[in-house]
């Protein structure tokens, strides 16, 4: 936008200067050049200048005088002008066009009658400060229906088409008219094209053109048009070669007549930006622009063309980054990164990625920068659903003017791309893994890998580095495979976050010692036997009996763990923070806080000598507690009263329940140790269900000694002796009516 404003301001100043010089009443309607003061009067004044057939010829400081010094314009050009006047009456378009392209030189236009029902005109648009034609309005009327389209020189110039592309000639053809008009209007000593002289144009060009047909090495029929100032080639249907050549041997023929403009080819070309689709409903075969049903979007098309042009130029400058080791993919990734972050400032919510830009990448790889730019703009449009074309154009302009295509501040520009990509990859890695570190910290940790544009490869590389770094501080050798597995990497990141949080500048030795012990215990607990760490996320509120059960068992566990530190001491009550952490799955912080509180209460520092033994003890007891919790989670399926009553019986039989009641697997169930006589256990359990239906002997299954049914028969609890899985032991069996079975083996 800054660039456009600058242009706009410059233009208005020039206009103001010219107005004073010429002392024309029209120019006096233009004032200070402050766009913010735009008024109806000003717009009207600009429109008057805009539609003045001779305004540029009379006022432009660099424009050559017309050869014939004429003041009239071609009838079809006049129709085009009337058409724009009518459009401008409906919606002000003049200001935008002046800002984007300049003023039209109506009296210097080229016009041609293509056929009895087709006319075409090329109207040059020139900014007051320019010394060349940068924009041409192409007007094409067929059967009375008007179509208009801007050609932008920058857009066409940046369009890089291989010479053997069938569109190459078309592109050359379009671009050549800028050269021709430049010569006519600015530089040439004599006029090559007598603008506004239809018969002269026809005669001038037709007399000098020749057309050749030949079949190239790829078997495509090529039509080659040679004119005095340019030539072009286009692919045409093979029938034309057959008609003109007679046999596919490469002979040539010269047609009796030819056209200067082959718009049928253009019509199939930039379909998204070229002529708007005429209304096929008909009824518009008249020249009255007020009745036209043409979709009026050419100003936006021009904006997009300019945006593509700006972007293409920016993309192309990437090539000039010297000594680059970055691949095409990496350079493009860098472009996407810069573009995406830049556009987000103007188009909220926009997120571009490589998937959206696959076609752009392909063009970029083929060094077709204009196509790449066009594809990027297409992708931006699709990704943002925006119709704010100004925002897109201004973004591109800003990108070009304010961003260096080569990353700055690097030792070499090529390396700079890699550095930027690596920083982006680091940010993405940190975000996706929830790492508690800055991108700079991560980059310092891992250095610069060979490629950062491949996010998956970067992730793998970064994780490996992360593990190596942690392993120098912790004892993770035995857990490497586990922590580097697809499931384990989350835990690796958790360990890294926890470790970093407790080893900063503010951490004292006590904190570091304890957290180191907990990290090791966590890694062992997670990786040993595949047992997950204690996560109370499935426990409901404090009314859940498991809540009370786990609270008691955690207390038992901590009491044992801290016995060495606080001989004869008593534990403080466990606070809610411990359970909040465990409920959110934050095992390490839960353990850390619990032990830290206990030690603080006793005014004891965690000694470094205890790191290993405490870690091992925590690993063992935590695993036991996790197994205990796993068991009760499964029992909970049978209802809260089963949980409470079973735990009640266990608490009358055992001191350290969590050590003696642990989940093994689905086949075995729970192993229960040191619980005394299983038959007495049963009697106590059964007595807690006075309303149960006692199973009669005829209702007992093989191996069952006794059983009850509760909850209206939905839950069956029995005690067995023998059976395939426990031939010499007692088994307590809980069975839900749906078939789910939970077993407790007495050991």
């Amino acid at each position: 936008m800054k660039k456009l404003l600058a242009y706009g301001g410059l233009f208005l100043l020039v206009v103001f200067f010219n107005a004073c010089q010429k002392e024309t009443p029209i120019l006096e309607t233009t004032n200070s050049g402050d766009k913010g003061l735009s008024t109806t009067t000003q717009q009207s004044g600009q429109a008057i200048l805009f539609f003045d057939p001779n305004f540029l010829s009379n006022n432009h400081p660099h424009l050559k005088a017309a050869v014939d010094n004429r003041t009239d314009i071609d009838p079809f050009v006049a129709e085009v002008r009337d058409y724009l006047i009518a459009q401008n009456a409906q919606e002000n378009i003049v200001d935008d066009i002046i800002e984007l392209a300049g003023y039209p030189a109506w009296d210097r236009s080229i016009a041609d009658l293509l056929s009895s029902n087709e006319s075409i005109a090329l109207v040059p648009y020139i900014k007051m400060e320019d010394e060349s034609v940068q924009t041409i309005l192409v007007a094409y009327r067929r059967d009375g229906l008007m179509n208009v389209k801007f050609w932008n020189r920058s857009f066409l110039s940046n369009f890089n088409i291989p010479a053997d592309n069938v569109m190459h000639g078309v592109w050359s053809n379009c671009l050549s008219y800028f050269d021709a008009l430049d010569e006519e209007l600015f530089t040439g000593s004599s006029s090559n094209i007598n603008t506004d002289d239809q018969s002269t144009v026809n005669n001038s060009v037709s007399s000098r053109n020749s057309i050749h047909y030949f079949i190239n090495d790829n078997g495509i029929c090529i039509k080659r048009v040679e004119l005095s100032t340019y030539s072009y080639e286009i692919g045409v249907p093979m029938q034309e070669c057959n008609d003109h050549i007679g046999n596919p041997g490469g002979s040539t023929s010269t047609p009796s007549s030819g056209r200067k403009f082959d718009f049928s080819v253009f019509g199939n070309w930039w379909q998204h930006t070229f002529f708007p689709t005429p209304n096929s409903g008909g009824g518009t075969s008249n020249n009255n622009p007020n009745n036209s049903t043409v979709n009026w979007n050419f100003v936006n098309d021009l904006r997009l063309d300019l945006a593509q042009s700006e972007l293409a130029a920016y993309v192309q400058r990437l090539l000039n980054c010297q000594n680059t080791e970055a691949s095409t993919q990496e350079r493009f990734q860098y472009l996407v990164s810069a573009l995406s972050s830049h556009l987000q400032g103007n188009i909220p919510g926009l997120e571009l990625n490589l998937g959206d830009l696959s076609s752009a990448l392909e063009s970029f790889s083929n060094e077709q920068y204009m196509s790449a730019g066009a594809a990027v703009v297409e992708a931006v449009l699709a990704a943002s659903n925006t119709t704010d074309y100004d925002a897109i154009l201004n973004s591109m302009v800003d990108l070009f003017s304010t961003f260096s295509p080569c990353p700055s501040g690097s030792s070499s520009e090529g390396d700079g791309i890699l550095e930027v990509l690596c920083q982006d990859a680091a940010i993405a890695f940190i975000s996706s893994h929830g790492l508690n570190m800055s991108p700079a910290d991560l980059q310092a940790l891992i250095g610069t890998p060979s490629s950062c544009s491949n996010q998956a490869a970067f992730d793998e590389f970064a994780l490996q580095k992360l593990f190596n770094d942690l392993n120098t501080k912790l004892d993770l050798d035995d857990n490497m495979a586990c922590l580097m597995s697809a499931q384990g990497t989350d835990q690796l990141v958790n360990i890294a976050n926890f470790y970093n949080a407790h080893h900063g500048d503010q951490a004292d030795d006590c904190e570091e010692n304890l957290s180191t012990a907990i990290c090791n215990a966590f890694a062992d607990t997670y990786c040993e036997e595949g047992i997950t760490t204690l996560n109370l996320g499935e426990v409901g509120n404090s009314a859940d009996p498991i809540w009370t059960i786990m609270k008691e068992q955690l207390w038992e566990m901590l009491k044992e763990l801290t016995a060495d530190f606080i001989p004869g001491g008593t534990l403080v009550l466990l606070g809610p923070e411990l359970f909040n952490n465990l409920q959110s799955g934050d095992w390490m912080n839960a353990m850390y806080n619990a032990v830290d509180i206990v030690l603080n209460e006793a005014d004891v520092c965690f000694p470094i000598a205890k790191v290993a033994s405490f870690g091992a003890g925590l690993f063992v007891t935590a695993k036991q507690l996790a197994e205990f919790y796993e068991a009760f989670k499964k029992i909970k399926l049978f209802g809260d009263q089963v949980v409470s009553k079973l735990y009640h019986v266990l608490s009358t039989k055992l001191d350290d329940i969590y050590k003696n009641f642990k989940w093994v697997n689905n086949r075995v169930g729970v192993e229960l140790k040191n619980a005394g006589d299983p038959l007495e256990f049963w009697d106590e359990l059964e007595a807690l269900f006075p309303d149960a239906d006692v199973l009669s002997p005829s209702e007992l299954a093989p191996y069952e000694l006794a059983g009850i049914k509760i909850n209206g028969g939905q839950v069956r609890i029995s005690i067995k002796f023998g059976g395939n899985n426990n031939p010499d032991g007692y088994t307590l069996e809980f069975k839900y009516h749906t078939g789910y079975t939970f077993k407790v083996r007495f050991k």
Binding site: L679, S696, P697, S698, I719
Partner: protein, 231 residues
């Protein structure tokens, strides 16, 4: 429980009404809910409503109100007496009560408590825990003279049937047992020759059921009345 049959020179008496000990036994059902029904040889017919027929004995297992009692089993057996002559068979009901007391499992394993035997091969979990509030036993009651109902009977037939004269007959049988639940539904045992028909949680009056299941092999109607009511 066997029906009492007496013969005199002028009277034939068939009485299968329950005596006081049996009524006292059934009194134990009141306030309890049926937990399950155990059948010796069962046939289940899935009609619009489940129809259960049982040859042999059936056992109603009640859930005792006494926590020391594990189970309260009532075993019912149907006995039909053939009375010859123009009188159709008459039903009688035998009742056995088995109480299983709660004991420690080890002791129970060493000395298994009395329970229904394994001949009860079919078990039906009772679908409702609604307690029983009333038991009604219905049966046939007739006071008649054979000659009155069959004027053309001859002496030879009477001798063949064991009725040498024209005796007066007194018949009191048991044909239906209705266990009425607190919610008004009924579980009905219909005595059959050698077994029972069982209907669970029947809604409405028993009159229609009695009328439909009435046995009329030779045109002599039974006179079904309420023989006992236990509340």
């Amino acid at each position: 429980m066997q029906a009492k049959i007496k013969r005199t020179s002028t009277d034939f008496i068939f009485d299968s009404r329950l005596e006081k000990p049996a009524l006292t036994l059934l009194q134990g059902c009141i306030g309890s809910s049926i937990r399950s029904i155990h059948l010796e040889r069962a046939q289940l017919a899935v009609l619009p409503t489940l129809k259960i027929s049982c040859m042999g004995r059936c056992c109603f297992r009640f859930k005792s109100k006494d926590p020391k009692v594990v189970a309260l089993n009532f075993i019912f057996q149907s006995h039909f007496q053939e009375i010859k002559g123009p009188i159709v068979d008459q039903g009688a009901l035998a009742i056995q009560k088995i109480v299983t007391e709660k004991r420690p499992l080890r002791e129970a394993l060493l000395n298994p408590p009395q329970d229904i035997d394994s001949s009860f091969a079919t078990l039906i979990q009772y679908p409702s825990q609604d307690p029983i509030v009333r038991i009604r036993l219905y049966g046939n009651q007739e006071r008649l003279n054979l000659k009155d109902i069959e004027p053309n009977i001859n002496q030879e037939d009477l001798i063949k049937w064991g009725f040498s004269d024209y005796p007066n007959m007194e018949i009191d049988s048991i044909e239906f047992v209705s266990f009425e639940h607190e919610n008004g539904s009924q579980t009905i045992l219909s005595l059959d020759n050698g077994g029972f028909w069982i209907q669970l949680l029947r809604e409405g009056s028993i009159d229609e059921l009695m009328a439909n299941s009435y046995i009329k092999p030779n045109g002599y109607d039974k006179s079904i009345i309420l023989q006992h009511e236990i509340v």
